[in-house]
């Protein structure tokens, strides 16, 4: 049983039902969980880029690009927060765009004169791996949450009025009695 649920039981009264065993299937799908993990990763990476921009620039042989790295950090944090929201798809899409920008930036740092070329190659590999995860996640989210394109079911036979709409118009008006207390109405 979930530890949080057990802890929350202290707020319940003795006659309230308590969780005995957790159901296997959740409304939260694998792609939703992946999006959440990527969101936290994005925020973590963003903080590192913001706080440790100088060290990162040094490691990648990109001295002078500290401002750019901090901007990328802010972008990562924003994308992370979007990925943690109720609709993570835009967040993951923005991460994919960010991955592309990161790859272009790192490719530019692969110049021959860069003494940290090896580090850049490792970073490129890492970004490529994360990009694959982002792409898998985005595809999973789309297939899980997208509405199928039409044709839509026709509910035009569902009036809710057994005697028809015309008979229903004003049918309750004449008979209505106002409640005794109309305070606030």
């Amino acid at each position: 049983m979930n530890m949080l649920a057990r802890a929350a039981d202290i707020t319940r009264s003795p006659g309230d039902p308590k969780v005995l065993s957790k159901g296997a299937s959740s409304s939260l799908g694998a792609s939703d969980r992946l999006a959440r993990n990527l969101g936290w990763f994005s925020i973590g990476l963003g903080v590192v880029e913001l706080v440790g921009a100088r060290r990162l620039a040094s490691l990648l042989g990109m001295r002078g690009a500290e401002g750019l790295i901090r901007a990328y950090g802010a972008r990562e944090i924003a994308a992370g927060m979007m990925s943690l929201s109720a609709n993570p798809n835009p967040g993951i899409k923005s991460r994919i765009v960010g991955d592309a920008i990161d790859i272009v930036t790192l490719l530019a740092a692969l110049r021959h004169g860069n003494p940290r070329r090896g580090n850049v190659e490792v970073a490129l590999l890492a970004v490529a791996g994360i990009t694959v995860l982002d792409l898998i996640c985005q595809k999973g989210l789309t297939s899980r949450h997208a509405r199928a394109p039409g044709p839509y079911r026709d509910y035009r036979d569902r009036s809710g009025f057994p005697q028809g709409v015309n008979a229903a118009r004003g049918a309750a008006r004449k008979e209505r009695q106002a409640p005794e207390d109309k305070a606030g109405f």
Binding site: A5, D16, K22, S26, A86, G160
Partner: protein, 391 residues
């Protein structure tokens, strides 16, 4: 027993939980025969309503058969009675209950101190909702304990099916209250934002209460088709200008009465830039709700008109044009539904065949499929409008 349990944001599971027990002499326990997923369950699902805890049982639209009755409730209920359970728990004795303001009952919220700190004053206890409203276990379960059961029930005759009466628990009286508090006149145009289950009930209520025209606004084709079936003129806001169409329909004067059946999670689109800003603020925790519909209603409503708000809002909202509302002399009427204020009248309308709320049901499944149906309902997949669960 089995129950749909909240384990965190977007994580609902069908768990095995202990059975509820009578705690107070006014309690009763029912075997749930039908329950439903409500639009406001989605706000809990998304964790937009604060103070949910892992292990909370969901659901506030339930009905069933009484299987156990506390000693003090025995005069009003007996084992075997078939009842619908209103989502608002009320004592029937406090000052507010005597005024039929059941959703602000002064005694039924068992976590009153918490609610008072957040709201200033406590409101009624609600089933399957936040701990700000008592944290009572909900009815998406095989059994449900009903506190204050001698008052918190609606007895229903065997001649009507579960599907015909289940929505007396919430969406039918909620739609009805939304229309009733508009004080509809036969010359009125009533504009209703949102064609979800509450919007559909508000449309039927406005028709029954004699509105001249009812206009329904949404972007989901099958929901607009259902609204049209109920007698509404429809506006698809993705295809048409809401303001332009409402002006055409009302000869440029605007609707006298506006109903917000959308609430805190309005649709987000590039064509409505304010919704993008709200979404960004919501994600950064700078704003709780997305009040696009409120802004639009204030803008389009005829001066001296009424805005009725059954849609749920949870907290703080930004950029609501209060000056516009004040200068136009608009009245705001809102609140959780005083369910039992309306249910005698609504049950009679159902028995007389003037309305059959079962029209809104598009999916009926077992409780085990509940977690998946939360997703289907949330994503409006498979033309889903309303899900009924059979425990």
């Amino acid at each position: 027993m089995k129950a749909l349990v909240w384990h965190g944001k977007q994580d609902i599971r069908c768990d095995t939980v202990s059975d509820p027990e009578i705690e107070d002499s006014r309690d009763a326990i029912i075997r749930v025969t039908s329950c439903a997923i409500c639009g406001s369950d989605l706000h809990l699902f998304h964790n937009f309503i604060p103070a949910m805890l892992p292990g909370d049982i969901m659901g506030h639209e339930s009905m069933g058969e009484v299987v156990e009755v506390g000693s003090a409730a025995k005069g009003k209920l007996k084992v075997g009675d078939r009842i619908v359970v209103p989502f608002t728990i009320f004592c029937g004795e406090c000052e507010q209950c005597k005024r039929q303001n059941f959703s602000v009952c002064e005694r039924s919220n068992r976590k009153k101190e918490l609610a008072e700190k957040v709201f200033g004053h406590a409101t009624a206890g609600l089933f399957g909702y936040t701990h700000l409203t008592g944290g009572y276990p909900g009815g998406q379960a095989e059994y449900l304990r009903v506190p204050f059961a001698d008052t918190t029930h609606i007895k229903v005759p065997d001649s009507l099916t579960d599907e015909q009466v289940l929505f007396l628990s919430d969406i039918l009286p909620t739609g009805w209250q939304a229309a009733a508090q508009c004080d509809i006149e036969p010359t009125d145009t009533v504009a209703i934002w949102g064609c979800g289950p509450v919007g559909q009930m508000a449309i039927r209520s406005a028709i029954l209460l004699g509105a001249k025209q009812v206009v329904a606004i949404d972007c989901i084709p099958e929901r607009l088709a259902m609204a049209e079936a109920g007698g509404a003129i429809t506006i698809n806001f993705k295809e048409d200008s809401v303001i332009g169409r409402l002006d055409d329909i009302t000869s440029g004067k605007g609707p006298e009465k506006c109903i917000d059946a959308v609430g805190m999670e309005s649709h987000v689109s590039i064509s409505q830039p304010d919704t993008l800003l709200d979404r960004a603020k919501q994600m950064m925790m700078l704003e709780n709700d997305r009040p696009h519909v409120l802004r639009e209603m204030i803008y389009v409503c005829r001066p001296a008109g009424i805005l009725s708000i059954p849609g749920v809002y949870s907290g703080l909202i930004d950029k609501v044009p209060m000056g516009m509302a004040m200068n136009k002399g608009l009245s705001f009427r809102m609140g959780q539904t005083h369910v039992n204020r309306w249910t005698d009248e609504l049950l009679r309308l159902i028995e007389e065949g003037k309305i059959d709320p079962s029209f809104v049901i598009t999916h009926t499944v077992g409780l085990e499929e509940g977690p998946e149906m939360y997703k289907v309902f949330r994503d409006k997949q498979d033309n889903c409008v309303k899900v009924v669960l059979k425990p």
